[in-house]
């Protein structure tokens, strides 16, 4: 099987898992959504008090364990970090603001599209524009710097966090909040979610699928390798939905589950997600997988996502089926401006360093 077919099939595994999880109880078009699931976990931990989105999503635990175990067995697990962790945290924070204004991460955007939600098409256009802008910064010298080997224990902290979440999910202590209504109360059986999450984690770790990486490579180096994974997710979610969730397919802009049709902020929200993803070197799925295989910078990014989700709800920025609140619109605009300033400052700093270096070289000559 050639590499593009493999990527397509790996994507297919993720797409099928999403369709199956929706069939067995996950909220509409939310068979898989990394941003929503981390947001639900933030709610379950009491970091925000939006009562309808609080649940320790077993899929996330499965994904982390799947990626951790397979990376450990294959030698991919490497504890590395130290590449601008605070900047990554902030980028993760704003990425989540953008995602919760659109109501989904790039993965859910593909899943929404595969079920006929055309708002996701507007969001996809925004996502591509965000990635395109990010690529321009890469071309001008943007980098968060290289990472370094760290003490091995640091790499295990993220999988341990997932283990703690699993313990909370099983023993349900009083301080962990579980929604009794709304999307947070809807979920496939825990065992099924854990198993399919694990399968998805393995597929993502082996394939390295990244929604931002796929589009970035098409723009930057004209290579479609990772894009085939995205196409596989779309195609198999569509096939899975045609077989398992046919009655829920709804082609159009209105009446979509957990989605709104504010075109401008669907576009801008995902533009912010695309921009942050390129500047981080990966979308939320990819960050979760990297964190599971020892990348502590990605772990910091995921905690940025979690805190971003908490603030999105605490500050009334998160959208709902009724639309985008004013705070959400302000949050996305501040996010875009702030992230552009970060990117511009990094580029300017790199240029200064290069000028200084060339002056030193000519002085030595």
């Amino acid at each position: 099987m050639n590499s593009k077919k493999k990527m397509f099939m790996y994507g297919g595994v993720i797409g099928l898992a999403a369709a199956i999880l929706m069939k067995f109880g996950n909220p509409g078009n939310m068979g898989m959504c990394i941003a929503c699931f981390w947001r639900d976990i933030a709610g379950a931990l009491g970091l925000h008090r939006a009562a309808v989105v609080q649940y320790i999503r077993p899929e996330i635990i499965g994904i982390v364990f799947g990626a951790f175990i397979v990376s450990y067995l294959t030698g991919d697990f490497k504890t590395r970090g130290g590449s601008s962790p605070l900047t990554r945290f902030i980028l993760g924070f704003f990425l989540m603001i953008g995602a919760l204004v659109f109501l989904g991460c790039p993965l859910r955007m593909i899943i929404r599209l595969a079920n006929g939600d055309l708002n996701a098409l507007v969001a996809l256009a925004g996502y591509i524009v965000g990635i395109f802008i990010g690529v321009q910064f890469l071309k001008k010298g943007y980098t968060l710097g290289k990472n370094y080997e760290q003490a091995k224990i640091a790499g295990f902290l993220f999988p341990i966090f997932a283990l703690v979440l699993l313990i909370f999910l099983v023993i349900k202590p009083a301080f962990i909040l579980f929604s009794t209504e709304g999307p947070g109360s809807m979920g496939a059986p825990v065992i099924l979610s854990l198993i399919l999450g694990g399968v998805v984690g393995v597929a993502l770790q082996r394939s390295r699928i990244c929604t931002a990486g796929g589009i970035r490579d098409m723009i930057l180096i004209k290579d479609s390798h990772f894009l085939w994974g995205i196409l596989g997710i779309f195609a198999f979610t569509l096939i899975g939905n045609l077989i398992l969730n046919f009655e829920k397919i709804n082609i159009g802009f209105v009446g979509q589950p957990i989605g709104h049709n504010d075109f401008l902020f669907n576009f801008l929200g995902m533009a912010l997600v695309g921009l942050c993803s390129v500047l981080l070197g990966g979308c939320p799925i990819r960050q979760t997988i990297l964190a599971s295989q020892g990348d502590t910078d990605a772990g910091v990014t995921v905690f940025g996502l979690i805190v971003g989700a908490a603030f999105a709800h605490n500050f009334g920025m998160a959208a709902s089926g009724n639309g985008v609140p004013t705070n959400g619109k302000i949050g996305v605009i501040i996010g875009i401006v702030f992230v552009l300033i970060i990117a511009y400052s990094v580029v300017a700093d790199q240029k200064n360093k290069a000028t200084k270096k060339s002056k030193e070289v000519s002085a030595n000559v």
Partner: protein, 89 residues
Amino acid sequence: MSEKYCVITFDTVQQSLVFEKHLIENEIAVKLMPVPRQLSSSCGTAAYVDCKDKEKIQSLCKESSILFDEFHELYQDKKNMWFLNHLKK
């Protein structure tokens, strides 16, 4: 029989772009590509180069302070552990 090919990996995407620019300026064949799976679990970019240019590339990088991670000479390899082979497909 397996074929040899050469790939250069980088610590950051930005390093690969700088590398590509300098090689093109010096008329050395180069093509950026996703990092081959057998080299890394990262989703960054690597550079595919002609193995015959190895020394030329190394001296150019040294002279111009161009950073890269490693120069890899790749062949197709096969592992005996059936379950890991399956996972790596």
